[in-house]
Symmetry: C2
Subunit: 520 residues, 2 copies
Amino acid sequence: MKKADKFVKNAAGRTVPTLVNGEKVVPFKGVNGYKPKHRGAAPRVPTCIDYPKDGNKLVKTLKDALQKSGLKDGMTISTHHHYRNGDYIANLVFDIAAELGVKDLRWVPSAAFPCHAPIIKHLDSGVVHHIEGSLNGPLGDYCSHGKMKGLGYLRSHGGRYRAIADGEMHIDIAVMCASASDMMGNANGVNGKHPFGPMAFTKADVKYADRTIVVTDTLVDFPCYPWEIMGNDVDFVVVLDEVGDPEQIVSGTTRITKSPDRLLIAENCAKFIDAAGILKDGMNFQAGAGGTSLAFVHFVKKMMQEKGIKARSMVGGSTKFLVDMLEEGLTDYIFDGQTFGLEAISSLRDNPNHIPIGIFDIYDFHAKGNLAQMMDVIVLGSTEVDVKFNANCVTHSDGRMLHGIGGFQNCLLAKCTMIAVPSFRDRIPVIKDEVTTLVAPGELVDVIVTERGIAINPQRKDLIEATQDSGLPIKDIKELKAEVDEICGIPEKPKLSDEPVAVVEWVDGTILDMIRKVED
Amino acid sequence: MKKADKFVKNAAGRTVPTLVNGEKVVPFKGVNGYKPKHRGAAPRVPTCIDYPKDGNKLVKTLKDALQKSGLKDGMTISTHHHYRNGDYIANLVFDIAAELGVKDLRWVPSAAFPCHAPIIKHLDSGVVHHIEGSLNGPLGDYCSHGKMKGLGYLRSHGGRYRAIADGEMHIDIAVMCASASDMMGNANGVNGKHPFGPMAFTKADVKYADRTIVVTDTLVDFPCYPWEIMGNDVDFVVVLDEVGDPEQIVSGTTRITKSPDRLLIAENCAKFIDAAGILKDGMNFQAGAGGTSLAFVHFVKKMMQEKGIKARSMVGGSTKFLVDMLEEGLTDYIFDGQTFGLEAISSLRDNPNHIPIGIFDIYDFHAKGNLAQMMDVIVLGSTEVDVKFNANCVTHSDGRMLHGIGGFQNCLLAKCTMIAVPSFRDRIPVIKDEVTTLVAPGELVDVIVTERGIAINPQRKDLIEATQDSGLPIKDIKELKAEVDEICGIPEKPKLSDEPVAVVEWVDGTILDMIRKVED
């Protein structure tokens, strides 16, 4: 299987392969340049005949379940990341595969975290051929150095759903951990010993995989309700002592930043949406769980209280902070794809206006519209931006791929997408002439907010006009860059080879960019 | 297009066509005799590019929406029946089609009711070629007399879902009425001016149809929540003055029978499940909304109270009666696919333990198990049964097809399926040597309960043994038949031609029986 072949320059001017891991791919054709003409995935048709009449699908071990699912060389295995850095299951799956002598698996997690570093040995030994999924930390670094046998394939959360539903990525076996399940496989993430929240990232997997295994540490009586996974979609249920550690979900997020610069950035974001007329009664917005995002919500909340207005909906990553706003009547609904912290999990379980959503609902581009595009504003972080308003969230300026792609691209469809970044980090400017890796096409980035000034995309004449007398530090992006370069100097370009180690897919399934091997 | 061709005798000994409305079909191969080997439907892949960026999918008229959906000759159009006999939309759709000069449509409602009699003129004129769906009253009678251009195609509720998901029945345009919707098409049946309840019957349609139109009389602000239909699946939204009359949902059901015979039948059913050890703490059962079913639940409720036990779940057709039981703590959950009466609708909207379910969840046979098979007991009505425990719920003994097939077949998967029938109606015996139309294969009918005695299927030795000392009037089915024949005499056979007018599909998609033209 060829990792990559036949390179072309795509509509964004980026050189990308037209063959990835042996499959033909379509180069990016511009933001609205590619329309699907094929029909979607046609899943395996099961029959009740093949499943226990009494609904009891329990098998003793995950190994049994994997063997009964027909685990063999070359298969595609999916896991989800709702436990984030506390997931125990993915490591276990590949340890079992190694024990069984299975090779060349494709792992398609909804995201991988530092806790998955043990899978590096299975990549080295050939148990896992390559990973397609949002990569964080050690696995990203491993891939950056060209050590993976196949190319990494970075899909946004919505892009992953789309790839599965479109039939681009077929899953043989989905191994889905749940905090509670009954013997039939009806399962959720809010009950049981170690609840983690909604199960947004499981929806495509259980519907389209040939086999679905539910793994839980808490078996409950039929029916396990809520059933974010329906037993009708499940082949086997395995009960283990533990499946994940919810304490590791939060790691590093969910506290309002204390950095004065970041607080200033967040406040600038909030003031900007006020000045632009976006902050109004009935608004819908996505509020992330990162430190700056939380600070943004903090300032928005204060303004809402001062003005006596409320939001119609907020989309999480939900936190105690969002839950407080729901309970204080500052929003009608929280829609939630990933919960951070116990208070948010209880709220999701008990408050009928705190609602789990699926990735299809919020992010799928091959849908008849989606919820992200209904958001009045979304604030995102980035590793780099450039003077054309392009943004990067996966590689550092040294070229190493250390951050997950997550739902970043999907959020770009919002009515106003703002990128909140410090103007430099460790004396390296964040505003570049050209981003190292293109993840967000500039035409979809509306505003870049730094502690040193706010740059509005020239295409958004409406925003420029609305805020021109606001007194906010609005600057031309090049002017902002010059200011920062003046302080930091222009850094050396990263040492990158021509060899690709991963590709970045655009939300429509075309190839937006490739990530090059880092030369140490 | 040939209506029917090449007749064979199937595994149930019934003569059935192997070609229906121009398509090859598989004759019934026995209850667990047919396993699907194909993959499922591959739906059209839409893209956000083709839908309004602001989510506003409102079009002025249903005619506009149908034209923009590309309505043309030969298409398949679906509607749902949650308003039951109060639906206004199906008639309107075909009036518009007639006005536009469109011909040869296939109408695939989840069920048709007497209110749809106006569609007969469109069948006469060729606007509608034939109907595939559960038929009640005038349309059934019309079909029985061989007046439809194509063959009627009776699929159970679960069978209809299966047919769509399997790719057997492709829907071009789904026209889904909702009691409330936002401009994006997020919609439900519990809010708005004329709420009707859950939207169980819309789930396959909106996921697999090429185009989905939501029609409502109540437009609400984004987001319309709950969203039983997600706007991501919707092409157009139309607001009309009225879409249906919820008063007509109940017509004829939802009151406990006052007939002494039927009360006795219901009491016998309740006593039977007690004697058989089925009535116990934590049981799950389906409780229908018909008069005898309601009486059964009434007796079960009394026994539960006496014994101090509670159910784990009850599956509706929900009524005030079931809601009272939920509120009195006699069940943990109601799972609901069709709501009868305002109290049940309010409960569904406001009580988090009264939960809407989809047809996939409860009834799909091409799933990895389903909820029906998890039910400890389900009580059904029938038009006829026979000495082999076969049952019929669609034709009268005169051969006329006057009753919907509904979820009847799907309920046969329950752990104990009971058929509750009077032993005769209008001096015509209900127990036959052979049912006029085979809808339920006898091996899946466990118990037949009449006012005159209870017959247990000889295959269910466990039930026979458990109830042998119960003092209940348990009789051999032939003995019971002889008793009734003694009273009524043996009626003449219906006058039926050899010409088929409709086929009855088994839950797996094979052809179980055909319905013959009635000769007047």
